[in-house]
Symmetry: C2
Subunit: 185 residues, 2 copies
DNA sequence: AGGCCTATCTTGTCAATGTCAAGACTTGGG
DNA sequence: CCCAAGTCTTGACATTGACAAGATAGGCCT
């Protein structure tokens, strides 16, 4: 199907991830991505209308991958592991997560992005529903609290606001932090 | 003291905030800031070495303002109001908060920024210490959980991940969410 | 098989941006 | 009064995102 490069679209996404990992999402340059991929400076145009489109695609991919991670973790049935999986994903896919939570880089109203975000949200909410089963409290609020907790922890870690020793166990940290959430009463 | 503009440094910070509020921190242009302030395109150089330096100054100012807000809220003695103040600050100073949490825009190792962030962290931690007084649990972990919770909630709201009705009461939302944290046991 | 047609990629170009260098203007002190 | 320092301007350059036009390859139809 593709002709010259094999699959330039994927190659662009991968090299963009590489660049984001090195210099952060704000410093991403389309021309640099093209250079790394070995194509001309205007080649990306045919796969991504915009620089924003590339970043939006990356963000959507990140949310989809996160939703997958959460799905796997939910299979364990242990609610706390959902939160752990969230934080572990963020720290093990820092480039994806940085793009996901960067303000204004991705097109927030992109349908693909919205769908992927919805999947991740759905995983969290269904986990909370099982967790809160039989409780009289507002499950949506608890879900938002859980989401906020893990999202915030991941953000603080990746912002460097929470200094993390290189040998630190992120999963253990996440478990400790999420243990501060209410159990159902 | 200053000669032509009165206080160009402050004017640049203010116009930068304005621009960030309109187009997001990633789209900030030094030349645009200079234009808005009515000075030449190279004038900012004498007050901020870099574009990064301007953003770093904004971030530091934001953390300092946040620390002030938290200090005021802590005076109430009610721990939950600390979290509420955090989220209210984020939503009422969206430009500051966007710069604060944007990955890679500010120079993370800037001493002024680190100091301001430390002040905000200190407010949260001392609040948690009072909250957890007499508890056997690890107060640092609880502090991190509280910080993560409010930071994450603010981030999700400002990312648009949590759709907020225009007439919604942010303080009330924050109160509901933070109520999911453990009381000391 | 042969010829078109579309998708893919390249080269060329333009305005805008960040940063640097050099010069001009204002202010205040000796 | 004049000079020195701080403040701002003008000018320049490489880089970037985006657009336009042309080249190339592969698939499709007859």
């Amino acid at each position: 199907m593709p002709y010259h490069h094999g699959d330039l679209r994927r190659a662009l996404l991968d090299t963009a991830l590489e660049a984001v990992g090195e210099q952060g999402p704000a410093a991403l340059s389309l021309r640099d991505v093209a250079r790394r991929a070995g194509v001309s400076h205007a080649a990306p145009t045919h796969h991504f209308r915009d620089k924003t489109a590339l970043l939006t695609a990356l963000a959507a991919e990140g949310w989809a991958l996160l939703a997958d991670s959460l799905r796997d973790a939910a299979a364990d049935g242990d609610f706390a592991e959902l939160g752990v999986a969230y934080v572990v994903f963020a720290t093990s896919h820092p480039a994806h997560f940085a793009v996901m939570r960067a303000p204004g880089l991705a097109r927030a109203d992109d349908p693909e992005l919205e769908a992927a975000m919805g999947q991740a949200r759905e995983q969290l909410e269904s986990g909370v529903r099982r967790f809160e089963d039989g409780s009289t409290r507002d499950a949506a609020t608890t879900a938002l609290a859980a989401w906020s907790l893990v999202h915030g922890l991941a953000a603080l870690v990746l912002e460097g606001a929470v200094p993390l020793k290189p040998d630190a166990d992120v999963a253990e940290l996440a478990r400790a932090v999420t243990s501060r959430l209410h159990p159902p009463t």
